[in-house]
């Protein structure tokens, strides 16, 4: 329809234009002038505005602007006792302090406590540091410490940190600077638990606005929060400990990873968390270091095909972890030592090594176990949760195919993955294989208990020897004895593997040229550790 009409119209145009040709209707001589004028006008306006923009722009990288960190999700609350996600900790972790802490190598050290001891199997006594005050002037003492412990374990307090305080029964004041924390039964991990139990001021924390006006004892105090945009903190001039050097910090919310990187390149921000390996060459500077994050693929050992430990050992042998670390992670990961622990952590077994890559042996073991032709399984992976999780799953599926095991990768939205992943192995609907990362922020062998004991909440393995050892270790206060028991647990978990042990992951931070920072093993972002250069 339009075709013939168009031709028709052209011919009329031809008639009306004196001596014009088909491609040059007369009207074209009139209207382009307006277009050209508009274009010139716009260009002039841009040139005129340009310099003024630069002058007026508060965003340009200047030496005096505060240090800027970025996070991709806005914290729901800054009440450090309510939530424990990494992004809210970037802010609240610099405002609040705990009784115990870790040094940069991961060792347990006192912070607001000066010393601690177990006075009996269910009572731990902490002697507190004197002369510490909260940012609002409230003093820190035993009463406050007891209040803080009792606040977080109150069943009517809305917190997602329940699993961090399991086994704590309460706290009581002994004298002004001595507090006792009571446990229900023997609880050897109590000191570790105290590293993630923030001390809060009784007066301020009972106000509703504590969620967005946090008050702590830390080296930085809260300044303000512009919703959807940024949070500001500044140095606490009355800090009891060594003063940090960076005075003012802005934590900006930039949801997109690429935009974060571009903002770093534009000189608008100084620290970007969790850079992707492929982004490194575009960042002015970066730090990359092994984190207590272990990627794995858990077996459902209740499934007939994977009941025999030989099958599971074969699957460990079938995967080339070196190549995975080298290619997909571009070297920012390493095969883990067939356990979810690193040297120095309680329970790390120094005799264990990564399973070698040996597909021939894997095929042989499968044949011995009665599966010479392999079998089919489903490998379940969450979408967009773990760095390169989807790619890793595809890689592993390919490698398993080489030894005859047909693994189909099934991607799940995070919530669905979590709900389905929690189905224990002996119930219908449980995952055959589950890709995940285990983050051992406790640096302690006990952290994995939910995954490996017969009645663990998401466990797909049942080995009475493990249950016996885990129970015994949890009832032992002597750290060396516990260490040995967890070492035995991991020994058993290698003979009777609960997962394909993949990698220990690095975390990578992008830095601007003016920031100097070696971050901690536990991956807490402490601004007091950062320095400005130049």
């Amino acid at each position: 329809m339009t075709g013939p009409m168009g031709i028709e119209r052209r011919s009329i145009q031809q008639d009306t234009s004196r001596g014009g040709d088909v491609t040059m209707p007369v009207s074209k001589l009139v209207l382009p002038r307006a277009a050209v004028l508009t274009a010139v006008g716009l260009a002039v306006a841009l040139v005129a505005i340009g310099p003024w923009l630069e002058l007026g722009g508060a965003f340009a990288g200047t030496a005096t602007r505060p240090v800027v960190l970025t996070i991709t999700t806005e914290p729901a609350t800054l009440d450090a006792q309510a939530v424990n996600d990494r992004h809210s900790r970037v802010v609240s972790g610099n405002i609040f302090e705990t009784l115990l802490d870790r040094d940069r190598t991961g060792r347990l050290v006192p912070l607001l406590a000066e010393s601690y001891e177990a006075v009996n199997p269910t009572t731990w006594r902490f002697r507190l540091r004197r002369g510490v005050t909260f940012h609002n002037g409230e003093p820190f003492n035993a009463e406050v410490a007891a209040y803080s412990v009792n606040r977080i374990i109150d069943r009517n307090y809305r917190t997602t940190r329940g699993s961090y305080t399991v086994g704590i029964a309460g706290a009581r004041v002994v004298d002004e600077y001595t507090v006792e924390v009571l446990t229900s039964g023997v609880n050897a991990t109590l000191p570790v638990q105290m590293t993630s139990l923030p001390m809060v001021p009784p007066r301020a924390s009972q106000q509703r606005d504590f969620a967005w006006r946090p008050v702590g004892t830390g080296p930085y105090r809260f300044l303000g929060w512009v919703r959807g945009r940024e949070m500001r903190i500044a140095i606490n001039d009355n800090y009891w400990g060594p003063k940090p050097t960076i005075r003012e910090v802005v934590v900006r919310i930039i949801p997109d990873k690429q935009t974060e990187l571009l903002a770093l390149r534009a000189g608008e921000v100084d620290v970007v968390l969790d850079l992707l390996p492929e982004q490194i060459q575009l960042a002015p500077k970066h730090v990359s270091h092994p984190a207590p994050e272990y990627s794995y693929i858990a077996f459902n050992t209740h499934k007939r095909e994977m009941a025999d430990p030989r099958v599971r050992i074969a699957m460990n042998l079938a995967v080339d972890k070196e190549r995975l670390a080298r290619t997909i992670y571009q070297g920012h990961a390493r095969p883990n030592m067939s356990q979810h622990l690193s040297p120095g952590m309680v329970g790390f077994n120094p005799n264990l090594r990564p399973f070698p890559y040996d597909p021939a042996r894997a095929r042989q073991l499968l044949a011995e176990a009665g599966f010479p032709q392999g079998f089919a399984v489903v490998l379940n992976t969450p979408i967009g949760r773990y760095l390169k999780g989807e790619e890793t799953s595809e890689y592993v599926a390919q490698q398993l195919a080489q030894v005859g095991i047909q693994a189909r990768v099934q991607l799940h939205e995070w919530t669905a993955y979590q709900n389905l992943g929690r189905i224990p192995g002996d119930r219908p609907g449980a995952f055959d294989l589950k890709y995940g990362w285990n983050s051992n922020e406790w640096f302690d062998g006990s952290r994995i208990i939910a995954h490996i004991t017969c009645r663990g909440t998401s466990s797909k393995i049942c080995d009475p020897r493990i249950d016996e050892l885990m129970t015994r270790a949890n009832g032992t206060v002597d750290q060396r004895a516990r260490d040995e028991m967890y070492q035995q647990v991991w020994q058993i978990l290698n003979e009777n593997p609960y997962s394909i042990y993949l990698l220990q992951q690095n975390l990578i931070y992008g830095l601007s040229a003016r920031i100097q920072w070696r971050n901690r093993l536990d991956d807490e972002v402490r601004i007091a550790d950062m320095r400005l250069v130049r």
Binding site: R9, G162, R422
Partner: protein, 311 residues
């Protein structure tokens, strides 16, 4: 076809709009519920069932679904959208804090898109087949085809990183508005361009235009005096539809890329942490804008159409 009187049509349209909004409310409530359990989501992977159950109780999610809905809807009628699960603040002010940013961004983008698509589309339709037409057509199809977040990233890389004319992201003043608004305008202006171009072209070839031409009226006067009047209906309705598209989600992707503190970012955050009250409130408010825009477009179209018929 036009059995209804304009006044009656307006009333029906508003009634339908309210009905749709009610439906949105029900659907978003059920969807939120079906998305999963916030208590389970927010708990660490190794949380015990008892801990999750206790959190569920504290969040009021242990009550039967219909009780929760009746409770929710009852409060809604009183203008109470509930309280954020984590912020300890009512949901409505949280959404209203973010809303002006989304309105500012979408309105600016819409004006830019309207100018870009309207002027270029008209000129391209007028000079159909010319070099200008082919060039703009090529650029438009390209703009409509690429995802908006990509356009945004390219703009940031060039205008904020390379020549540092504007901030990359966030909101630090009006300069921050430029890149996200241009990004949205490019994509939506492209679609407006395509529709306006074909409308202009079609009008220029209609019998009345040919009659005018045969009288010796120059083309630009035909365009100016007759055709534009007709195509302006298309421009107006297209712009209306594009606005609906923006508020229906297109603007939210751009908000995320530019860290723009609008309701898109708010919704995504709320959805990620299953903060139902905030999510529901944001969707209902955004839905109200979409429904209102839709109604205005429809009503406006009818009115303009009717007037044109009389004229």
């Amino acid at each position: 076809m036009h059995a209804q009187s304009p006044g009656r049509f307006v009333v029906t349209r508003i009634r339908d709009g309210l009905g749709i909004l009610l439906l949105v409310t029900v659907v978003i409530f059920l969807l939120g519920y079906g998305l999963g359990d916030p208590a389970a989501l927010m708990s660490p992977v190794d949380a015990t069932p008892e801990e999750i159950e206790n959190l569920r109780r504290l969040l009021g999610l242990d009550r039967p679904l219909y009780v929760q809905f009746v409770d929710y809807f009852g409060h809604l009628l009183r203008g109470d959208f509930g309280e954020s699960l984590w912020q300890y603040r009512p949901a409505l002010p949280i959404v209203l804090e973010a809303l002006p940013f989304t309105l500012l961004l979408t309105a600016t983008a819409l004006v830019l898109a309207g100018l870009l698509g309207g002027i270029n589309g008209t000129l391209a339709g007028f000079w159909a087949g010319s070099r200008f037409d082919r060039a703009t057509n090529f650029l438009t199809v390209a703009a409509v085809s690429v995802p908006s977040f990509w356009v945004g990233l390219i703009l940031i890389a060039v205008a904020a990183v390379r020549i540092q004319l504007f901030p990359t992201s966030g909101f630090t003043g009006w300069q921050s508005l430029v890149l996200p608004a241009v990004t949205l305008a490019v994509v939506h202006g492209g679609r407006i361009h395509l529709l306006v171009r074909s409308a202009t072209f079609e009008e220029m070839t209609k019998p009345y235009a040919m009659v005018a031409r045969s009288k010796g009226l120059p083309d630009r006067l035909i365009l100016w005096k007759h055709v534009l009047r007709n195509t302006s209906v298309t421009v107006a309705t297209t712009i209306g539809w594009e606005y609906v598209r923006m508020l229906g989600g297109a603007a939210f992707a751009v908000e995320v890329v530019f860290a723009w503190p609008g309701i898109g970012q708010l919704m995504i955050n709320a959805a990620n942490r299953h903060d139902f009250p905030v999510l529901q409130c944001a969707v209902i408010i955004a839905g109200a804008f979409v429904v209102a825009t839709n109604a205005l477009v429809d009503i406006g179209y009818r009115l303009m159409d009717a007037r044109l018929r009389v004229a």
